[in-house]
Symmetry: C2
Subunit: 312 residues, 2 copies
């Protein structure tokens, strides 16, 4: 049996190998993904985002445990674009999940990368598909960092949980509108801290004002993740959201959008690769670069010349 | 006179308008850039990076003032990919520069963006060119955030200053190797704080070990940016570095690399645009998306089909 077959017959090791192949762009990665693709689309993908310090990892941990207690299998992907200035908190977060890693029904993977952020997005999408094909019922995609690229990744989820926490910024205004708009369910973590009532009120007011999502008014749930309080209620809200989303058609609209953007991203990557190959094969690129450097030509003219030569 | 001509004859307003045109992708942006291109290549571009809290903005501020006192004109670009979770510190940093904005010989601009990080890189490169064509002697490119994309932008500078500060992490190990390797000059800021000797020693040891840059051993300079101490010495090191870089050929190698990556980025953007137009004109894209969604085809096959139809 090859890796894809082993994975489909339930091998954890094969799942791990498939993700490694995707991460490192091994030669067999595309082949594995092609075999797995027909077996995807069944998992419920939940994205978890929020400002640093909101306790996203702890919440993800507790959500995974609660889903496990309901008999569901869980995949966890921690998205972490390699920040050039790391602290070490990330490793700490992951270590805390140790008790989960002993559970055969949970599979945890961190996705990071150096350089190509576009690559991170594609690799996360493919890791979701691998866990999905392997039969995970729930896939939790948690952003470790706070960049735009990670938010874009979370946006592709079926359900988006925005985690907030009292006392982090001055007020809700500090969090840019774009984030609040993507939330399907809001979790106010550390709900035993000061300022929780104010944050809750502000959030509810803002959601009242934001009438764009007519068919689903995002609920605000209070949780204390490190004590496990409010988790089953949060999962209840997630279940309601996904049921409503399937009924209203938003679920399939989102998946179509996800498919489109994945196709376009793959296309950009492939075309970029082919164009670079043509340029290096043709040998004329260095001369064009030299003509731009000498200011004989400007880059806009050169790009048009290359466009004419590589494209129909 | 059009914007490019006005800019070349010294208009600050035209410089501001040109940058706005590039930032917002106005129709006239490419035309302006084409006119300006022949007048670029004279400025000394200095990239300033380092972990959050290292005092990059203050140091940038003081470097600008010192260069001004030497009679040089200065452009400052603060690169700030729109983080979805902002605090407000960024605005504070910029406000502190107010006294500089009264100086006609200084031009300050923040570059941010929503979404497209690739776009930020190109727009920053074009803003550098605009300031360069406008005759700025020194262009300081400062990273506000700490993402990989900003580091990639700073990497294109003629001189790269890495700003460190004692007591920020456990030790120098916390800063990933990639960052230390790009530094041409190291500035230890807040040099009156505890731990400066240890940081200095560790840094020197690491630089001794790193023998990759044989023709330039990066110096480590101590500064106290908020009091202006050590700034002229730091500028002395920068002058030595750029002289050495010109002599060794590294200067022109870097500029060639910069030209190449700028051309490739422009090419990717143009091709992406054209492919999207072809796909939307052809009308077949939605059907392909549907066939992928239904698992009738897998995305890899569809991408190959599209590749065959849009490319030679």
């Amino acid at each position: 049996m090859d890796i894809a077959e082993e994975l489909l017959s339930g091998s954890r090791l094969a799942m791990s190998r498939a993700i490694t192949a995707v991460e490192n762009e091994y030669d067999n990665a595309v082949d594995i993904m092609q075999q797995l693709y027909a077996h995807t689309g069944n998992a419920h993908v939940i994205g978890i985002t929020g400002p640093p310090g909101a306790g996203k990892s702890t919440l993800t941990d507790k959500l995974a445990k609660e889903y496990r207690s309901q008999g569901k299998t869980v995949g966890i992907i921690a998205v972490d674009p390699t920040s050039p200035f790391s602290g070490g908190a990330i490793l700490g977060d992951r270590i805390r999940m140790n008790d989960l890693t002993l559970d055969e029904g949970v599979f945890i993977r961190s996705m990071g990368t150096r350089g190509s952020l576009g690559g991170l997005s594609r690799k996360t999408a493919e890791t979701i598909k691998i866990m999905d094909a392997a039969g995970k019922d729930i896939i939790l995609v948690e952003t470790v960092g706070v960049g735009q690229s990670e938010v874009d990744i979370v946006k592709t989820a079926d359900t988006i949980i925005v985690v907030l926490v009292p006392g982090l910024g001055d007020d809700i205004q500090a969090i840019k509108a774009g984030i609040l708009e993507i939330g399907d369910v809001f979790a106010i973590n550390k709900a035993d801290h000061d300022g929780v009532d104010r944050l809750n009120t502000e959030l509810e007011m803002m959601l009242d004002l934001n009438q764009q999502k007519m068919d689903w008014r995002p609920p605000v749930k209070r949780v204390i993740a490190n004590r496990g309080e409010g988790i089953s209620e949060l999962i209840g809200s997630i279940a309601q959201q996904i049921a409503q989303s399937r009924q209203s058609g938003q679920f399939s609209n989102r998946r179509t959008q996800r498919t489109k953007s994945e196709l376009l991203a793959m296309l950009d990557e492939q075309i970029g690769r082919r164009v670079r190959k043509k340029l290096s094969d043709g040998g004329g690129f260095d001369q064009l670069v030299a003509s731009v450097e000498s200011r004989e030509k400007n880059p806009y003219i050169v790009v048009n010349e290359i466009m004419a030569s590589v494209l129909l």
